[in-house]
């Protein structure tokens, strides 16, 4: 693989960017003033590398100022398996809350983009890799339901490593639950827009993320079912360059458009208008 995956793993701990006033871009190595990077929506001004973003920054960036209202914020996992590996799942959840600055791997709510109301779900890569357990599944299903009831478009900004192992089969069940909820929205004539960001993989890719009426992706986002390392181990060969990146998925016909982060608001608004929503 080229240098991107390594680059991505380096920033995993701090979704935004490394701490400090100056940052060395993980892709092109350019020195960037931190404030500039933030003004550029966490995109490298030199090479356009799209850094991962936490949910709250994304919400602030996508919505008209002061319009986002969160719902179902109080949902928490009941730890159905009483799971523990090297640490207990409950400890992991507590750590994740601090690390992510959110109570779960997705925030759902109602917001406005260029004056157009919509229901949205924004995933947070800092919360156990944006993994989907019962809470994420419930929030996605509830958001789809709300979109249907209020006849509003649904937007999902996906960012996830897949189903959450620590909830076992409960997590896998969320794939069925979210897909069924999207089916109901679809049947009611609702518009469903997906924006795939880095990474959108496994159980989330293979459920609600790939069910959009229209699928947008940020440049360079890793999108796929199996992880690149798993595939490389299975086929015992190096993977083609750019494999499973947004551009690769576009070329193979599974993405409608690749959209630069700065253009997301206007692109989403335009699609809503075209669909008369």
């Amino acid at each position: 693989m080229p240098d991107k995956p390594d680059a991505a793993s380096q920033v995993r701990r701090n979704v935004d960017v490394p701490e400090g006033l100056w940052i060395r871009c993980v892709q092109c190595g350019a020195m960037i003033y931190r404030r500039i990077l933030e003004e550029q929506l966490h995109v490298c001004p030199e090479c356009d590398y799209h850094y991962r973003m936490d949910a709250q920054s994304r919400i602030a960036q996508l919505n008209d100022p002061g319009t986002f209202e969160e719902f179902l914020r109080g949902l928490e996992s009941s730890d159905p398996l009483d799971f523990s590996d090297r640490i207990t799942y409950r400890e992991r959840l507590a750590q994740a809350k601090v690390q992510a600055g959110d109570s779960e791997a997705i925030v759902v709510g109602k917001g406005f983009i260029k004056g157009r109301p919509l229901i949205m779900g924004i995933m947070n890569p800092n919360f156990i890799m944006g993994s989907m357990g019962a809470v994420v599944g419930e929030k996605v299903a509830a958001a789809a339901e709300r979109a249907r009831n209020e006849s509003l478009p649904l937007l999902m900004v996906t960012c996830s490593g897949g189903a959450r192992m620590m909830e076992g089969m409960v997590s896998l069940a969320q794939m069925a639950k979210t897909s069924a909820a999207i089916a109901e929205l679809d049947a009611s004539g609702g518009l469903y827009i997906v924006v795939m960001t880095d990474p959108t993989t496994a159980g989330v890719a293979a459920s609600f993320a790939f069910l959009g009426d229209v699928t947008l992706a940020e440049p360079g986002a890793l999108i796929g079912f199996a992880g690149p390392r798993v595939i490389a181990n299975t086929i015992k060969a190096t993977l083609p360059e750019g494999f499973q990146r947004a551009e690769f998925m576009l070329e193979h016909g599974f993405i409608d458009r690749i959209v630069h982060r700065r253009d997301l608001r206007s692109e989403i608004a335009r699609i809503i208008d075209y669909c008369n929503k």
Binding site: D85, A163, M165, A173, M175, F210, L211, F225, A226
Partner: protein, 357 residues
Amino acid sequence: MSSEPTAGNPAGSPPTYVLEFEKPIAKMEQEIQRLEGLQGGSGRDYADVIAGIRGQLQTALRQSYANLTPWENVLVARHPRRPLTRDYIHLLTKDFCELHGDKLFGDDKAIVCGFARMAGHRVMIIGHQKGRETREKIEVNFGCAHPEGYRKAIQKMQFAAKFRVPIVCLVDTPGAYPGVGAEERGISRAIAVSLMEMSRLPTPVVAVVIGEGGSGGALGIAVADQVAVMQHSYYSVISPEGCAAILWKSAEQAPRAAEALRLAPQDLKRLELIDAVIAEPLGGAHRDPETAAKNVEAWVGKALRDLRRLKTETLLRRRADRLRKLGSAFIETPPTEPAPPAKVRTRRTRTASAARE
């Protein structure tokens, strides 16, 4: 390993592949076979000895199979002699009419589809086929389907649903195939579409996990009105080895992962993720495929009888409700809205609260 194309393991003949915990059992089975051979050859009568060993064998089977660890259960689910989808088709159906191809790309042999008469119903069977001998295993890719497999399955299911033919899914896969071609042809999208479309098929759908229920590749044909898992099968979000490699940094911790994942049928039932556990003959389905098949038939027959009584509208409403409530393992901590508790907002407080007002 076996060279037979189908299970058909005659009762009493020992499985040629022996799991670690079954070694004492295999020894007894070999002894019985040896004595039977001697008896035939020499004309001497070992009936009493054989009966004695048989008694011990039953006790040993009962003891070890009553206390299988989750990991041992996984090993039984993967047993090379365990009956496969085509064995169940062979044992349970009449007039199997196989239907191939996804009408888009190809015919994925990892998923078998076709009309058949089963348990008193005319049904569409959809099942993963893992393959028995090496050549078949390679041909069916060890039961790991590609996107065209899921597209083939959903195409046949929609065809069946158009005529309200009930659908019986037999789940047995380590997972969808993790390869370059699968990604190029959109395995994520194929599974996602399958999940969505199965949730609204206007005909009864039942699913039975007959062996391995490996993650999304299994769920891809298992969204149903009623789901059962056979006693020595497993159904899991990730393989125990995969989970161990990630969380314990060592695939050798798979037995611990199997326990932590609660992937055994009884646990899934307790979590209300499945509806029934189908009993297997003593010592696992591979010791007596006919009895295993009969148990599957009984469950499928009853489930379909009940579901066919429902009006399509009711059936679909129930399925939607069921999926909506599936795996609701969360608690709600008040107060929720509108003012979020300050403690969870450790970063970007200003931006976030500004956005909310």
